[in-house]
Amino acid sequence: MGQALRLATELVAGVAVGGFIGWALDQLFGTAPFLMVAFLFLGGAAGIMNVVRTAKAMQGEPMPGHHLRNATDDDED
C-alpha cells in the first residue's frame, strides 16, 4: 500500500504544482486560462518523470534495516 500511494502522490503532486504555477502566472500576466492549461500538461510531464524516477529508485531500494549492515561502502562523491 505504501509504495503504490507513494507513486500516486508523485503523479498528483506534479499535476497540482504545475496547475498552481500556471494559475499564479495567469494572475500575474492576465493571460487566463492559457498558461494554466500549458502548465497542467508540463506538470503532468513532471509528475510522470517523478513516478519513473521513484519507481527506478524503488527497484534498487533495499528494505528498511538493510542500511544497518553496510554502513561504510557508500562514499561516492
Binding site: 505504501g2 500511494l5 507513494r6 502522490t9 508523485e10 498528483v12 503532486a13 506534479g14 497540482a16 504544482v17 504545475g18 504555477i21 502548465f39 508540463l42 506538470g43 510531464a45 513532471a46 509528475g47 518523470m49 517523478n50 528498511p64 542500511h67 544497518l68 553496510n70 554502513a71 561504510t72 557508500d74 562514499d75 561516492e76 562523491d77
Partner: protein, 264 residues
C-alpha cells in the same frame, strides 16, 4: 472531503456523535482542532491548541528520553540507554548511507526531525490522543522548511552552479527549454509529495481505525468480534505505518540533502 467532515462536525459539535444521522460516531471528530488557551498575536490567531499541546508533549518526551537514557553514560548500556544508542545509530547510518560523511554535519537536524515525527506518529496511536501529523498544514510546514533549507544549502555550496541541477545532460539543445521547465516543476513538487505522503498515511489510517472501531460497537456482542479481531491486526499495522512514515520522511530529507550537496 475534509470540508464535509468539518460540516458534519458543526452538526454534532463537541460530543463526537455527528455521523450524519446514522447513529455511528463521526470518524473525523478525532482531527478537530480545539483552542485550549486563546492567544492573539498582532491580529493573528496564535491560540495554544490541542495540536500545539501534543507537539510540546512530543518535544518534552524526546528530550526527557535522551537526557534520562544517557544520564549514566555507562560503557555497557542498560535497557533505556540501548534504545537511545540504537536510535542514534539508526539515524546516523541513514545519513551516512544516503548523504555520505559530508552529511554528518546535518545529522542533528535529521535526528531531531526523525524523532519528532516518530514521537508525533506514536503519540497519535495512544487512545484519546491527537495525531498532529494528520494535519496537512503541519506536515507541509515541515516539508517546506526542509525544501527551502536544502535549496539554500545547494546554492551556498555550489553558488550559481546549482542551477545546472535543472539541466539534464545529453539532451538535444532544442529540447532544453521544455525539459528545464519540467525539471523545475519536478523539483517544486518535492515539498508537496513529501508532506502529502505523511499526512495521507496518518489520516487514512486513523480514519479507518475509527470506522472499524465503530463497527465493533454497531455489530454488538454477536458480530462485533470479527471487527474487533481486524482492529487488533490493523492497530499493529498502524504502528508499523507510524514508524515507516517517520523513516520515509527522514530518508527523503537525506536524499534531498544529498542532491543539494553532491548534485547527482
Amino acid at each position: 472531503m475534509i470540508g464535509a467532515a468539518y460540516a458534519a462536525e458543526d452538526v454534532g459539535h463537541g460530543d463526537g456523535h455527528g455521523g450524519g444521522g446514522t447513529g455511528l460516531p463521526d470518524p473525523m471528530h478525532q482531527f478537530e482542532i480545539r483552542r485550549l488557551i486563546d492567544l492573539d498575536a498582532f491580529g493573528f490567531d496564535a491560540s495554544f491548541t490541542n495540536s500545539a499541546l501534543f507537539m510540546v508533549i512530543a518535544a518534552a518526551l524526546i528530550t526527557l528520553f535522551t537526557v534520562l537514557a544517557m544520564r549514566k553514560g555507562a560503557l555497557v548500556p542498560g535497557r533505556l540507554q540501548s534504545v537511545a544508542e540504537l536510535s542514534y545509530e539508526f539515524v546516523a547510518n541513514m545519513v551516512r548511507d544516503n548523504v555520505g560523511t559530508a552529511g554528518m554535519k546535518y545529522f542533528p537536524f535529521i535526528f531531531t526531525l526523525f524523532m519528532f515525527v516518530l514521537a508525533l506518529n506514536m503519540l497519535g496511536m495512544v487512545p484519546y490522543s491527537f495525531t498532529v501529523t494528520s494535519h496537512i498544514i503541519v506536515t507541509f510546514a515541515l516539508a517546506a522548511f526542509i525544501f527551502i533549507g536544502v535549496t539554500i544549502i545547494g546554492f551556498w555550496k555550489h553558488g550559481i552552479g546549482f542551477l545546472k541541477f535543472f539541466v539534464p545532460s545529453g539532451v538535444p539543445f532544442i529540447m532544453l527549454p521544455l525539459l528545464v521547465v519540467i525539471e523545475v516543476i519536478s523539483y517544486l513538487t518535492r515539498p508537496v509529495s513529501l508532506s502529502v505522503r505523511l499526512f495521507a498515511n496518518m489520516m487514512a489510517g486513523h480514519t479507518m481505525l475509527k470506522v472499524f472501531g465503530s463497527f465493533v460497537v454497531a455489530l454488538g456482542l454477536l458480530g462485533g468480534w470479527a471487527a474487533l479481531a481486524f482492529m487488533v491486526a490493523f492497530t499493529g499495522l498502524e504502528l508499523l505505518v507510524a514508524f515507516l512514515q517517520a523513516y520515509v520522511f527522514a530518508i527523503l530529507t537525506c536524499i534531498y540533502l544529498n542532491d543539494a550537496l553532491h548534485m547527482h
